[in-house]
Amino acid sequence: MNNLTVEIIDISKKFNNNFALKNINLQIFEGEILGLLGPNGSGKSTLLKLMLGMLKPDTGKIIVYGYDVTKDALNVRKITGYVPEDPRLYEFLTGMEYLDFICNVFGVNDTSLIYDYLKIFDIYEKKDEMISSYSLGMKRKLSIIAALIHKPKLLLLDEPLNGLDPKSARIFKDILFELKEKTTIIFSTHILEIAQAICNKIVILDKGQIVSLGSLKEILEIAKNKSLEEYFLKVTGGEDIRSLIEVLIK
């Protein structure tokens, strides 16, 4: 069995007295691409932020590569690449300057990789333009490069394919497949096809709780002849959607 890389132990987090996450327990092993699925507001982004120490849990703890995130977030960040849901970059820097900034912060000496990534993601021509003139998709690409450039052990990706063109999305998926041997990847999305295509382990969150957990094969077995979409709707309370639509149309 592969090494345990991330261990989430009984994590709970409240915002304004409402549970964003409740008693989450999860183990993630090296080489796994974990898909965090769930409807909007189910707690996917909160869980990723907790793993990086951006938020403090109310109860429980998270161990990442042996570091307790609450006590040693800085060391966790040194080995983690993160793509936020809404990339907020320093807009007064150029794309190149931002990546240079990231390399310096992570202590990356060989910056030749920056040029390769910029070319792969088709933003090489724009590298010297200020980020303020970038489109959302370009900002997302820059954010992805920033997460990959320091060769992290853990990759936390919050809806990373939002706003990406099909070519870049495909490239990114291929990169993830290449990386999975030496990197633990946790991937939040609400697009089930993507999870099905990329992830080898799936967690379905609903209202801050894990409602389903297992490998894709295990989940499909539990689903019994249902597709992942139908199973997802069943466990997240969206099964009665057809009857709702019928009522609306009437």
Partner: protein, 518 residues
């Protein structure tokens, strides 16, 4: 007409709501109501006062010739500044043509709506002037002059704002056309433009300079009679001199020129109705070693470098500190006392340091997921304010030298003290910035909460008084006593510095440990 009214209303709401959320000025109607109330509060008491008190006949002549005639010209200059400042302020707001060019609106409607809305938003000085001048003209029964004055005032402002529209179009064209040149030129040009316009605004709205200008512009108007922006003033001048033909000629010329200018501006705008979004290109030079490997930089240096780039590139931040150059220029050209100079290392230092945290805006989230410790973050800010303090202290001491012509010993002592005061004020400014930041990244008030802004004003005031007392003491004390004073102050400084060092470390830690707090 209907479209023009709707567009003007939208622009007005866009401006008022962007500037003052949940305030009295949120609704454009309130601006008019407040202006009318202030007009009434000035107009009626002044009229009563003038009706009761007899005025020397000399006064109206001086008043008419030297003041009223020059006001339209002065307002023209003032609105050029206001308009240019608004261009820099506009950013992605409703002022931008891209936000409107896809709806069925004609270019002249867009131009007129922009001009009218700016006239309306900044109508306060016009109402004030009318409230001060109309009662005097009524007392002297110069009724036609009231109408000519109102016309001249409005025409001058209208003309100024049309010129601003031309500047705006040319800036858009040049920023787009010049983008092929390397971006550092564009960035420096933008930086210089904002600083020049903002500081000129500060310099030319200084009361003592206005007074000098008002009494000197008459000859400028006479000499430049052929220049259209002098025609509103000329119409007043000719009426006062009894030359009615000259008056009508200037009024008609003004109207004709305004319409012609509107036509030209609308034509230019229609040519650049869809503008190419400017993008600034800054090529990075890499200094690589023999192995073609880039050397790693210290995280603190990287953060400081990022901060300096923000201070020279981020337009909201440039607008925050650009007027400071105006104050510095003023302190050199009109100041005869060190009291004004000491504003620089105290209040200005505090303003610069309080926004050093909030300027990060929403991008502060980067600091939450990158391996940057709160100590590195805080130290980078400390280096930033140290450099600011050094710069401001050098300017202040230069200013004081030109005012007092002190000997080297006293000059060095004052420099040492000013630097300590400036650095401490900046450090406390940083405390306020850390405690009350706002990450909305639009204007000064959005980089710091209201509470923080008030607190910084109080602290700035205290430091200002301390600085005055220190300089005053040094100018009067003997050398031995000065050294004793320096020793006591240095010890006190060290003690306070250490306390705030601890507070700031804790506040930085608190700020960066949980994203839900921002």
């Amino acid at each position: 007409m209907k479209r023009l009214i709707i567009l003007t209303n939208v622009i007005l709401k866009g401006i008022t709501r962007a500037h003052a959320k949940r305030s009295l000025f949120n609704d454009p109607k309130n601006i008019l109501i407040i202006n009318l109330i202030i007009f009434a509060l000035i107009f009626f008491p002044l009229y009563l006062f003038l009706s009761i008190k007899k005025i020397d006949l000399f006064l109206p002549k001086l008043f008419l010739n030297e003041v009223i005639v020059n006001i339209p010209f002065f307002m023209f200059i003032m609105f050029i500044f206001v308009g240019v400042l608004l261009i820099f302020e506009a950013g992605e707001s409703i002022f931008n043509v891209e936000t409107i060019n896809w709806v069925p609106i004609k270019s002249y409607e867009y131009v007129l709506a922009n001009v009218i809305s700016t006239m309306y938003i900044y109508s306060f000085p016009s109402f004030m002037l009318l409230a001060l001048i109309i009662p005097i003209l009524i007392i002297f029964q110069l009724y036609p002059l009231i109408l000519i004055f109102i016309f001249a005032l409005l025409a001058a402002i209208f003309m100024a704002l049309l010129f601003v529209e031309i500047i705006k179009i040319f800036l858009e064209i040049s920023f787009t056309k010049l983008k092929k040149l390397k971006g550092k030129f564009i960035l420096n040009l933008r930086l210089a433009l904002v600083i020049i316009v903002s500081s000129s605004f500060i310099v030319f709205t200084n009361p003592s300079l206005i007074q000098k200008l008002l009494f000197n512009t008459k000859s400028m108007i006479e000499l430049g009679w052929f220049l259209p922006f002098n025609w509103p003033s000329n119409s007043l001048k000719f009426y006062i001199e009894g030359n009615y033909f000259g008056t009508y000629l200037n009024i008609l010329s003004t109207i004709f020129f305004c319409f012609s200018l509107l036509y030209v501006v609308s034509y230019l705008r229609s040519m650049y109705w869809v503008i190419e979004k400017p993008s600034i290109i800054i090529e990075k030079r890499h200094y690589k070693n023999i192995l073609n490997i880039k050397m790693k930089q210290n995280t603190i240096n990287v953060l400081v470098s990022k901060d300096f780039k923000a201070y020279t590139r981020k337009i909201e931040l440039i607008k925050t500190y650009a007027p400071i150059f105006g104050l510095i220029i003023l302190s050199f050209i009109i100041s005869s006392s060190y009291l004004i100079s000491l504003v620089i290392p105290t209040i200005i230092a505090l303003i610069l340091s309080t926004v050093a945290i909030g300027y990060e805006g929403k991008a502060i989230i980067n600091l939450y997921y990158l391996p940057i410790s709160y100590k590195e973050f805080y130290k980078s800010k400390l280096i930033l304010i140290f450099i600011f303090s050094l710069f401001l202290s050098l300017i202040t001491i230069l200013n004081i030298y030109f005012i007092l012509y002190l000997d080297l010993f006293k000059l060095l002592i004052i420099f040492y003290l000013i630097f300590l005061i400036c650095f401490l004020a900046s450090k406390i400014g940083l405390t306020i910035g850390l405690k009350y930041p706002k990450f909305e990244e639009t204007r000064l008030s959005k980089m710091l909460s209201i509470k923080g802004a008030y607190l910084s004003l109080i602290v700035g005031g205290i430091f200002y008084i301390i600085a005055i007392l220190m300089v005053w003491s040094i100018l009067r004390l003997q050398n031995n006593s000065i050294l004793f004073l320096i020793l006591v102050f240095s010890l006190l400084y060290y003690f306070i510095y250490k306390i705030f060092e601890k507070i700031n470390f804790n506040l930085s830690k608190k700020l960066l440990e949980d994203i839900s707090k921002i």
